[in-house]
Symmetry: C2
Subunit: 411 residues, 2 copies
């Protein structure tokens, strides 16, 4: 074994750690004054002053001019409020799904400046074709935002499947026909100097939930997305959880009891949108509804029939919910997260799907963990992925120095 892999400490690391804490406080609570940063971080006022001076110098933060609302009874020298400088950097977030590409450009505060959707079926396209499409989308979104590529600090691509972020390699994904696709390198090569990284789509939204969403400030929670495929994001101890080597797990690969009790099946084939649509298509073969599934949005038809109370569809959703509940119960047993966030078009079915999930989780969870987790449904706006991608890239820009999880830079 080579040198011990943990980082040793020197003054530079010390500064990096404290700079991160200051940045994090400004991001989370800004506009915020130096005194309050000092309070929250437990750093001395002097240190905060020195660090903020450097950050102002680098134009990463700026003073909030529109004087803060001073308490009427305020005395003494007023606090100068500090906040992120939105113009300090711009990043592009991309989400690849089986049926579309979403691209958005954001500023340093993760505000979306421009976004676009390319409704293209990517299924089994060659990697180079997909990379070309993504490149075009990025360049167009950047132009729409009134920026040039030189002003873009980073690009982050989220996609379903098994992703090794550090290496920039997609080990397996429904998007690609091949295995072990070095998509980060592929894309970076096309962008002329702008570094692209990749991650699981759900990891992006998990980070977005942590920074902006329902789990703000919560250090442990799960995100489960039910789209064409299934996604799992885990925030554990304030950090995105990844398996060994930074390999993000794929929820669809988890095994569950078969809904009909006949053994084990992949969760993806029991509870993903794709599997539900296929099953519904089979159930309704020959009926008046059959043709609706030809149009590609079979899930909408399922929701419609569920709302109408069609019993076979309700039974289908019940089985899917049972399978999801099984997997979620096991995840709660392992991670004990206070919150589990569900999202995805299928969740629009409401109690028809969520009910069985909750019921199964309650049924299968041991008594000692009965009350640790709250299961909530969150309806995402389209841009949450982009904000997550932005957060991921911003984290790299001023990221936590104690994690060696930064991605490899391909040039």
């Amino acid at each position: 074994m080579a040198p011990l892999d943990m980082k040793t400490a020197d003054p530079e690391l010390m500064r990096a750690i404290n700079r991160f804490h200051v940045m994090d406080a400004i991001r989370r609570f800004g506009p915020i004054s130096r005194v309050e940063i000092s309070d929250r971080t437990q750093l001395s006022a002097t240190t905060v002053s020195a660090i903020t001076a450097a950050l102002l110098d680098d134009a990463l933060i700026m003073t909030h001019q529109l004087g803060g609302i001073r308490d009427a009874a305020a005395r003494g020298r007023p606090r100068v409020m500090l906040e992120l400088n939105p113009a300090a950097a711009h990043v592009v977030g991309v989400k690849l799904a089986l049926d579309q590409i979403t691209v958005a450009t954001t500023n340093f505060s993760a505000d979306v400046l421009s976004s676009l959707v390319l409704p293209i079926r990517l299924h089994r396209q060659p990697v180079s074709v997909i990379a070309d499409l993504v490149e075009d989308g990025i360049r167009r979104s950047v132009a729409d935002a009134g920026l040039t590529m030189e002003q873009v600090s980073g690009v982050c691509v989220g996609l379903p499947g098994v992703v090794e972020r550090i290496a920039g390699v997609c080990r397996a994904s429904p998007i690609f026909g091949e295995r072990d696709v070095p998509f980060a390198a592929e894309l970076t090569a096309r962008l002329g100097g702008v570094v692209a990284t990749i991650d699981t789509d759900v990891n992006l939204v998990t980070l977005a939930e942590h920074w902006f969403g329902q789990a703000r400030g919560l250090d442990d929670f799960l995100v489960i997305s039910v789209e064409l495929g299934l996604g799992l994001g885990i925030l554990h101890n304030g950090e995105l959880f990844r398996g060994a080597n930074g390999l993000s797990p794929d929820l669809g690969d988890l095994m569950v009891r078969a809904p009909d009790g006949s053994g084990a099946v992949r969760l993806a084939s029991a509870a993903s949108e794709a599997s539900m649509v296929a099953e519904a298509q089979e159930i309704l073969a020959g009926s008046e509804h059959e043709h609706a599934f030809r149009l590609g949005r079979g899930i909408d038809k399922i929701l419609e029939l569920a709302a109408a109370g069609e019993p076979r569809i309700l039974a289908l959703l019940d089985r899917a919910g049972g399978a999801l509940g099984f997997a979620i119960a096991n995840l709660i047993t392992l991670f004990a997260p206070p919150k589990v966030i569900l999202a995805g078009a299928a969740l629009e079915a409401g109690e028809a799907l969520v009910g069985p999930i909750r019921r199964t989780v309650t049924e299968l969870l041991p008594a000692s963990l009965a009350d640790v987790s709250e299961i909530v449904v969150h309806h995402w706006r389209d841009d949450i992925w982009a904000r997550g991608a932005a957060a991921m890239t911003l984290r790299d820009l001023y990221g936590a120095p104690w994690n060696t999880t930064g991605p490899v830079v391909h040039r």
Copy 2:
């Protein structure tokens, strides 16, 4: 939310981090010279010199007098070898199982100085009775080692179930009738100044495997123990994995498909020693073997019959292996560990149990993870638990400063 919870950096933390790295290098590779520490840790020779001087001053390490074996062609000033000072501290490790208490006293190098086994059925004894028994065992083991309680730096107790180490509370365990037992406090109160901590029994052995055993230097692996109950230990990114709030998960609480395909069952009721014995007893009711199960060591009878090729026992082991394989496949999907270590009396059945485990894992694992994990069986000596408890306590003594995971001290 109060102050940001991550530690801020100051010179003291810097020194603590580097001191840890030096200690860790000495522990892992000692006897080791200062230059080699410098090489391995990437710290400058000056810094290593300063830190080792302080450690020598505190008598935590000592110079290795029996001059190292110098290469015949060696030139220059000889290296002075450094190693842990075994007498620097002593700790006591305790393991509670349903049928016995094991106690061992070790020195600073985790060598076992004395150990004893109390074959007592703890099942549903009052907490105070168990604490009394443990106290007696500890005092006797310490005396056997020729030490006084004043010389003991810490006590660590491992037990099955759901344990919240930081709080020192056992949330649920087959050992205790009650829930939420503050056993660390209970025991510390009896030991007059010596601090006791608790943890999952498997976590202790996981740390022992990491420090001394088959997984030395491996940063990611799983440990699965099949005893009367089931245990799961996870080393992830070089750290013991715990759920939110430091809650260690219980393998027995994981749900698996029922072996007969009729739904879901707790793994504990499908593959633990207890469940296998109960099932075997039922299968063999009325046969010549029935009375063997009255003697308490039913697992031995199972192994004997498996070796003899008794088909119903082989089928039983096959079902249990299938259930374990199901759970292990899901764990591999989540954690992607390069190694999975199995242990426990039931594993003596050899291929009759391990075969089905391997087969099921191979069958259920997705192709992208087919080759990441090696499954091995490790036969533990009785003292491995004690060494793990020692390692756990030593880690607290000179522990990783960046983890806020130290246990609460009750007095």
